[in-house]
């Protein structure tokens, strides 16, 4: 069910090894013992960049917090930097890696039972409506406004990508600080496109005609792949962009509307594209399967997370390095290009003690400030430098462009334009009932994709079910 896509390389990559060599030890069970705080890090002594903030970093000294994370390279990098945080603040931090499918369940158990096991945990933006409406997490504005806790000029929250902050906000209040994220982009093989005289698609129609040109079903070559597997983070990661691109609105005046004409057209387009121009197995493909297929040269194009760049350029497996280029989502019939707003943020557990909260906030400040983001990206010594930095100024930085050269052509412009122009906060229905709605939609889409039901029929049923869910 996890839906954050791709990202860096796995723990096996040189980057992780590099960290290890540098001594930021990772505990065996994915746990980093705070006792290892003394590990020598190249930058460890250099805490000057943090100390220029006008706050007392040591105000929660001696406290220890547990942070729940998912297994992902961008969090592994953060774990590797952890000893610097401990040296800076005197706060001990225990990281607990939880499988992506289980982290929400565990976080919700912890939040709802007020155990306060996790001072903060990696959180998906679609969960804030539920968390906030139950007051399980604190409104972060109180921390941002407190001068003893935040040096506003130094932290510069406005620099954190606005659409990501918006995705973590309810009624204008911020509940989670984005740490790492992505946009959805077209990824294509420039050599294969050039051979056929194709350009990356600017519209949905062009996207279909490109896919058609590259498909030869009799030779088992297919032009495209999109997530086809059922799941809130699978087909309901791609479909919302199409839904919005065709001009759909999830909830209008409190009324859900998932079987409107744009909704049906979007699903018909999705079904048609995958049926005609994608490998037959795509209906069971998860995002790593798509990236793997692309990296093995089996498909020439896909639309998915920008963070997949690090996977398809992984020298350990990829056969297409140097042949990759990027472009924005094509324009839908409504004239809109709609990318995902996926990101992982850190909220503060409302049940934690005041001192724990203070420590958690210092942790969040540290993890999400420009300096730590830089240390996980272009200053990061290994391969798999983070591509999902959380600040616009960093995406624009020339150092970032240099660091991201490995990804391929046009990576930064595609990402930057998507961030600036194509991100849509209402990409998905942001309501507390999202998990159930997401699953219902995913099932309906799946039924249409495998040909069990016609798009209209599938969406009519979903509409009825979602109305029930919202009432209940």
């Amino acid at each position: 069910m996890s839906e954050r896509s791709f990202g860096g390389r796995g723990p096996r990559n040189p980057g992780r090894r590099e960290i290890l060599r540098q001594g930021a030890a990772m505990g065996a069970a994915g746990l980093v013992g705070s006792s290892l705080a003394g590990a020598a890090f190249a930058q460890a002594d250099d805490l000057g960049a943090y100390k220029s903030a006008k706050i007392n970093w040591r105000q929660a000294e001696g406290e220890s917090i547990t942070v729940a994370l998912i297994p992902a390279s961008y969090f592994d990098i953060l774990i590797g930097l952890g000893p610097q945080f401990e040296a800076l603040t005197g706060i001990k931090v225990r990281f607990e890696k939880i499988p992506p499918g289980q982290i929400r369940q565990k976080a919700m158990l912890d939040l709802s039972s007020k155990t306060a096991t996790y001072a903060t945990s990696a959180t998906d933006p679609m969960y804030y409506p539920l968390y906030a409406s139950n007051k399980w997490v604190d409104d972060l504005d109180q921390y941002l406004d407190d001068k003893t806790l935040t040096d506003a000029a130094w932290f510069n929250v406005d620099d954190v990508i606005k659409s990501w902050r918006d995705s973590a906000s309810i009624n204008g209040k911020l509940y989670g600080m984005p740490y790492d994220g992505e946009v959805t982009v077209q990824v294509y093989r420039k050599d294969l496109y050039a051979a056929k005289g194709l350009k990356p698609a600017d519209t949905y129609d062009e996207f279909v005609s490109n896919a058609k040109a590259l498909t030869d079903a009799s030779a088992r070559t297919y032009g495209v792949a999109l997530r086809g597997f059922a799941g809130a983070g699978q087909n309901m990661y791609i479909y919302p962009s199409l839904f919005r691109g065709f001009g759909g609105t999830w909830i209008e005046g409190g009324k859900v509307d998932v079987n409107s004409k744009p909704a049906v057209d979007a699903l018909a387009w999705y079904v048609d594209l995958l049926t005609k121009y994608a490998p037959p197995a795509v209906r069971n493909w998860n995002w790593p399967d798509i990236a793997d297929a692309f990296s093995q040269g089996n498909i020439p194009c896909y639309i998915d997370a920008s963070s997949s760049a690090t996977v398809i350029t992984n020298p350990e497996k990829s056969k297409v390095i140097g042949k990759i280029a990027y472009a924005r989502w094509p324009k839908g019939p409504s004239g809109k290009r709609v990318t995902s707003i996926w990101n992982w943020g850190f909220p503060i557990n409302a049940a934690a003690s005041p001192k724990q909260k203070k420590a958690a906030w210092l942790f969040i400040t540290w993890a999400c400030c420009a300096e730590t983001q830089i240390r996980g990206s272009w200053k990061y010594a290994g391969a798999g430098k983070r591509s999902g930095v959380n600040r616009l100024s960093l995406v624009r930085a020339p150092e970032f462009a240099t660091a991201m050269q490995y990804a391929g052509d046009n990576f930064i412009p595609a990402v930057l334009e998507s961030l600036n122009q194509d991100t849509d906060v209402d990409w998905r229905p942001r309501v507390p009932q999202w998990p159930a709605i997401g699953d219902t939609m995913a099932t309906a889409i799946q039924a249409a994709l495998v040909g069990q039901k016609k798009p209209k029929e599938a969406l009519d049923e979903a509409q009825a079910r979602i109305q029930q869910i919202l009432k209940g």
Binding site: S2, G7, P71, P99
Partner: protein, 282 residues
């Protein structure tokens, strides 16, 4: 005298069908084993390559690398051994009582033992979590073993009941006549008769707790982290590290396979027990 030769079709069909059935069963295990010796690139090769340069890097990684699963294997050993031990200690007398003693509401209590088995474990996880939280049992071996017992005890009790019922009542009566007393009779006469049953129960309970995931992921944490949970982390959100996952899975399978081979005789006996019963519930 003519020794009947098996029909030629039969002579061929039996081994072929057996072989096919075995291959279907063994395929995933062998595939995991093969994958564990491949590089990530070879894992993805399409069509899959059967001939490749084997590497031990994956094993090195899961044993000594950043994502070593050794502490998790140890964690699994503690949980599985602990849960198995307590299960047997409680299940044997309970099963004996259900099989032999007369007391009020015996039927109801026998039925009640199965109560936790009547709904899916996921339905119980929230109450368990809340209770353990109150008593400080989250992320402790005590907590996880206790919860595992709710799964294993009913199963073990019902399995043991059938073994106790198989012991001829006369043997126990003889022991009682010899003034052995209830406990003496149980210890000296009955238990030796159900040794096989205890072995089977032990093995099944061990396998179940060794492979348990749901409770482990929710009740466990950084301290208590069985290998089933740790292995899951090879499936990161970005990509699945198939080769390392396979190496971890192979290591996690080893104890199970060893115990399985070692105890095969008992397991088969355990599966057929009750099919033809001599004794009966009185």
């Amino acid at each position: 005298m003519i020794v009947a030769k098996p029909h030629p079709i039969r002579a061929i069909a039996v081994p072929v069908l057996t072989g096919a059935a075995l291959a279907i069963w063994a395929f995933p295990v062998l595939w995991a084993l093969l994958t564990s010796f491949k590089t990530e690139r070879d894992v993805l090769a399409y069509p899959p390559s059967l001939i490749f340069t084997p590497t031990l890097a994956n094993y090195h990684d899961v044993l000594f690398g950043a994502t070593s699963i050794v502490p998790n294997l140890w964690s699994s050993v503690i949980v599985a051994v602990g849960a198995t031990f307590f299960t047997v200690v409680f299940a044997v007398p309970a099963a004996y009582a259900l099989a032999r003693l007369r007391y009020p509401a015996k039927r109801a209590s026998g039925f009640y033992v199965l109560a936790t088995q009547m709904l899916p474990p996921v339905g119980l996880i929230i109450p368990y979590y809340l209770v353990l939280q109150r008593v400080g049992g989250l992320d402790t071996y005590f907590g996880l073993i206790l919860i595992d017992l709710t799964l294993t005890l009913p199963f073990a009790i019902w399995l043991m009941v059938s073994y106790f019922e198989d012991v001829p009542l006369e043997m126990e009566e003889a022991a009682l006549l010899d003034r052995a007393g209830r406990f003496g009779a149980l210890w000296h006469v009955i238990l030796p008769q159900v040794r096989g049953g205890i072995a089977v129960t032990t093995i099944f309970v061990f396998l179940n707790t060794w492979n348990e995931f749901l409770f482990a992921v929710v009740i466990g944490g950084n301290r208590v982290r069985p290998v089933t949970v740790a292995m899951f982390n090879f499936m990161s959100v970005e990509q699945t590290q198939w080769a390392r996952l396979a190496a971890g899975a192979t290591l996690a399978m080893l104890p199970v396979i060893l115990i399985g081979l070692f105890a095969q005789r008992h397991i088969v006996k355990g599966l057929t027990v009750g099919a033809v019963k001599g004794g009966g519930r009185r």
